[in-house]
C-alpha cells in the first residue's frame, strides 16, 4: 500500500508541470496564436524560480519569480508575432533556443546549490492542488464567460472579431502572457518543488510534450487532465520498469514518453474531422488591423 502511494505521488509530481504548462498553451492557442516556445519559457521559469528561492530563501518567492520569468519571455514572443507580425513557428523556436541559452548562463552559479523545497503534505504540495483548480477555472472561463467567448471568437476568425470591435491584439497579448505565466510556473514547479535543484536543460522536452498534449486534448481543458496524467504515468512506469532489471536497456525505456507522444499525436490527428471541428481556425495566422 505504501509503495503504491509512493508511486502515485511520483506520478502526480510528473504530471502536474505538464498539466500547468499545457493549460496555459491551450488558452494561447484558443486565441489563435501558436507559441512553440513553451520549452523556453518553462526553462526560464525554472531558473528564475530557483534563483529567487536561493537568494530569498523562500520557495514561494521562487514560484512568483518563475511566473515572471515565463511572462517576460512570452511578452517578447508577443511583441515579435503580434506587433511585428513575425512568423509564429520561427519565433517560438527562437524563444526556446534563447531560453535554453539564457537559463544556462543565469544558472551557471546555481549548479549544485541547495534551496528550501516547497513544503508539502504527504507529498501533495500547493501547486498540485492548484493545477486542478486552474483546470476548472480555465474551462469555466473559456466556455462560460463573455471574455472567454471573445477569446475563442478571436481564435476562430480574427477578421470577424475585429469587425465586431473586439481588441484582437490586446486579447492575444493577454492570452500569450497567461501562457507564459503557466509555462514559467511549470518550470518553477520542477526546480523549486520537484527536484529542488538547478540542472542545465532540466525541462528535458517537457514543454514540447505539453504542446503535444494540447493537440491531444483537442483544445478542451478537461481532457488535458487525462492526457497529462497518462503521460505522467507512462514516464514513471518506464522508470519503475528500469529498476526491475528486466534486461531491457534503460535508454530504450526512457524513449517511451517521447514515442508515446508521437503515437498519441498520430491517433488524434488521423481523425481529420475531429481536428477540424476543434482546432482554432486562425491558429498561427498573423493579424494586421486595416483601418
Amino acid at each position: 500500500m505504501e509503495q503504491f502511494y509512493a508511486i502515485a505521488i511520483t506520478i502526480i509530481a510528473a504530471s502536474t508541470p505538464l498539466l500547468i504548462a499545457a493549460l496555459g498553451e491551450l488558452v494561447v492557442e484558443r486565441s489563435g496564436v501558436l507559441n512553440l516556445g513553451v520549452e523556453g519559457m518553462m526553462i526560464m521559469g525554472a531558473v528564475c524560480g530557483f534563483g529567487a528561492a536561493y537568494v530569498s530563501g523562500n520557495p514561494y518567492v521562487g514560484l512568483l519569480a518563475s511566473i515572471f520569468g515565463g511572462i517576460a519571455m512570452s511578452i517578447l514572443f508577443g511583441f515579435l508575432t503580434l506587433t511585428l507580425l513575425a512568423n509564429q513557428v520561427a519565433t517560438g523556436l527562437a524563444i526556446t533556443l534563447l531560453g535554453i541559452g539564457l537559463s544556462a548562463l543565469i544558472g551557471e552559479s546555481f549548479v549544485g546549490q541547495p534551496i528550501q523545497r516547497l513544503p508539502n503534505f504527504h507529498g501533495i504540495n500547493i501547486l498540485i492542488v492548484f493545477s486542478f483548480v486552474l483546470t476548472a477555472l480555465v474551462s469555466w472561463f473559456l466556455f462560460r464567460t463573455r471574455t472567454g467567448l471573445m477569446i475563442r471568437a478571436v481564435g476562430d476568425s480574427h477578421v470577424s472579431a475585429h469587425a465586431m470591435g473586439f481588441p484582437v491584439v490586446g486579447l492575444r497579448y493577454a492570452c500569450v502572457a497567461f501562457g507564459g505565466a503557466c509555462a514559467g510556473l511549470a518550470g518553477g514547479y520542477l526546480s523549486v518543488a520537484d527536484t529542488p535543484q538547478w540542472v542545465e536543460n532540466m525541462t528535458a522536452g517537457r514543454g514540447w510534450i505539453a504542446l503535444a498534449l494540447v493537440v491531444f486534448s483537442t483544445w478542451l481543458p478537461k481532457r488535458l487532465v487525462f492526457g497529462a496524467y497518462l503521460f505522467g504515468t507512462i514516464s514513471i512506469l518506464s522508470f519503475t520498469v528500469q529498476t526491475m532489471a528486466l534486461g531491457i536497456p534503460s535508454q530504450l525505456l526512457s524513449c517511451t514518453p517521447y514515442l508515446v507522444t508521437v503515437a498519441a499525436l498520430v491517433v488524434i490527428s488521423r481523425n481529420r474531422q475531429l481536428l477540424r471541428a476543434n482546432t482554432p481556425a486562425c491558429l498561427g495566422q498573423p493579424f494586421l488591423a486595416d483601418r
Partner: protein
C-alpha cells in the same frame, strides 16, 4: 499604439538584403551591453569575441570545421521551411547519420579500399533520410504535426545512440570508455589541416540546393506550395510529395553532416556526443541566410564564429561560454524582427 505597421505594395528587395545586416548590428550592440554589464570593456569584448578568432590560421580552420555541419543542415532546412515543411529534428537525423555510417568501421574494420569512404557517406545520408521519413510519413498519412514529431524523435535518436555506443558498438579494448574503435585509413575523410572533405560537400550542397530552388521547376514548386498552398494545388503540385522531398533532402543532409563529423573530426563514435546540438543552431543559420541555401554559407560561418567567440570569451574574458547560446538566440530574434521590414513599413504616429 504609437508604432504601427503599414503593408508595402511589394516586398522591398533593399530590405531583404539589409535586414540580416541590421540584425547582426543589433546583436553586436546587445553583445556590447552584455560585456559592459559583466565589467568588460565592450569594444575589447567584441574584439575578443568576434575578431580575434579570425586572426590566426588555426582558428580559421576551426571556423570552417564548425561551419561545415551548420551549412550542410541549414541548406536542407532552408528549402524545407520555404516549402512550409517544418523539420526541426535535424539533430536526431545527424545522430542517425553518424550512427549508421559508424557501423562500417565497427563491424568491417578491415575494409580499407577507397570505396568504403563513399559507402559510409551514403550510409550516413540514408540513415538521416530514413529517420526523417518517420515524421514525413506520419504527416502525410496521419496528418500528425511534423514539428512535434520530428522534435520528439531527437530525444529518441539520442537515447538509441547512447545505448548502442555504450553497449553493442563499444570498443572492447577501450578501457570501458563509452566509445567505439577509432576510425582509420579510408574510413576517415581526407583533410587539409583540420578542414576535411565535408567542407567541400557542404559548399556543393548549398550551391546545388540554391540552383534547385531558384533555377529549377522543383524549386518553384516548393516555393509556391510554401507561400500560396492553394495556388500550388491548382497548379497540380503535390503537397504530400513536397513533404517527402523536403524531409528526405534535409534529413539526408543532416545525416551526411553526422557522417562527415565522425569521419572527419571525431574519428570514432562516442557518447555524450555534442555535434547534434548544431542541428538546432542550423535553424538559426537557415533564417539568417534568409532561407536561401546559398545564404546559409555566410550565415553558417557567422554562427560558427559565435562558437569560437564563446570559447575565446571563456578563456580570455572569463565569461562562461554559454554566452554563445545567448548571442545565437538573440541573433535569431533580431533576424525575425528585422524581416518584418521586408514586407512592412514602420510608422510612428501620435494617438488620434
Amino acid at each position: 499604439m504609437p508604432l504601427r505597421l503599414e503593408k508595402r505594395a511589394e516586398r522591398s528587395s533593399t530590405m531583404a538584403l539589409l535586414s540580416p545586416i541590421i540584425a547582426i548590428g543589433l546583436t553586436l550592440i546587445f553583445g556590447a551591453i552584455v560585456f559592459a554589464m559583466r565589467g568588460v570593456d565592450p569594444l575589447h569584448g567584441l574584439y575578443v569575441y568576434f575578431l580575434e578568432p579570425l586572426t590566426d590560421e588555426w582558428a580559421r580552420e576551426k571556423l570552417i570545421v564548425k561551419a561545415t555541419p551548420l551549412v550542410m543542415m541549414a541548406a536542407g532546412l532552408s528549402i524545407s521551411y520555404q516549402a512550409n515543411v517544418w523539420n526541426i529534428g535535424a539533430a536526431g537525423q545527424l545522430y542517425m547519420g553518424a550512427l549508421v555510417a559508424g557501423l562500417v568501421p565497427v563491424f568491417l574494420t578491415g575494409w580499407q579500399t577507397p570505396e568504403v569512404m563513399l559507402v559510409m557517406l551514403i550510409l550516413g545520408i540514408a540513415g538521416g533520410a530514413l529517420w526523417a521519413m518517420i515524421p514525413a510519413i506520419l504527416k502525410v498519412k496521419f496528418n500528425a504535426n511534423e514539428i512535434l514529431t520530428s522534435l520528439m524523435l531527437v530525444y529518441v535518436a539520442e537515447l538509441v545512440f547512447d545505448w548502442l555506443v555504450r553497449g553493442p558498438l563499444r570498443d572492447p579494448k577501450g578501457y570501458n570508455f563509452p566509445k567505439t574503435v577509432n576510425f582509420a585509413g579510408w574510413q576517415t575523410l581526407p583533410a587539409w589541416g583540420d578542414v576535411h572533405l565535408g567542407a567541400l560537400l557542404a559548399l556543393l550542397a548549398a550551391l546545388g540546393l540554391g540552383f534547385l530552388m531558384y533555377r529549377m521547376l522543383k524549386g518553384f514548386e516548393l516555393r509556391t506550395l510554401g507561400s500560396a498552398p492553394r495556388a500550388g494545388r491548382f497548379a497540380g503540385f503535390s503537397a504530400d510529395k513536397a513533404v517527402y522531398f523536403c524531409f528526405g533532402v534535409s534529413g539526408g543532409l543532416a545525416g551526411l553532416a553526422g557522417a562527415c563529423d565522425v569521419m572527419g573530426v571525431g574519428r570514432q563514435l562516442q557518447t555524450p556526443y555534442s555535434t547534434p546540438s548544431y542541428g538546432f543552431v542550423a535553424i538559426i543559420v537557415a533564417f539568417l541566410g534568409r532561407l536561401n541555401p546559398v545564404g546559409a554559407i555566410l550565415a553558417g560561418l557567422l554562427l560558427a564564429l559565435t562558437f569560437l567567440g564563446g570559447e575565446a570569451a571563456q578563456t580570455t574574458l572569463h565569461i562562461p561560454d554559454k554566452i554563445a547560446k545567448v548571442f545565437q538566440g538573440v541573433l535569431l530574434f533580431f533576424v525575425l524582427a528585422c524581416d518584418t521590414l521586408v514586407l512592412y513599413r514602420l510608422k510612428w504616429e501620435s494617438r488620434k
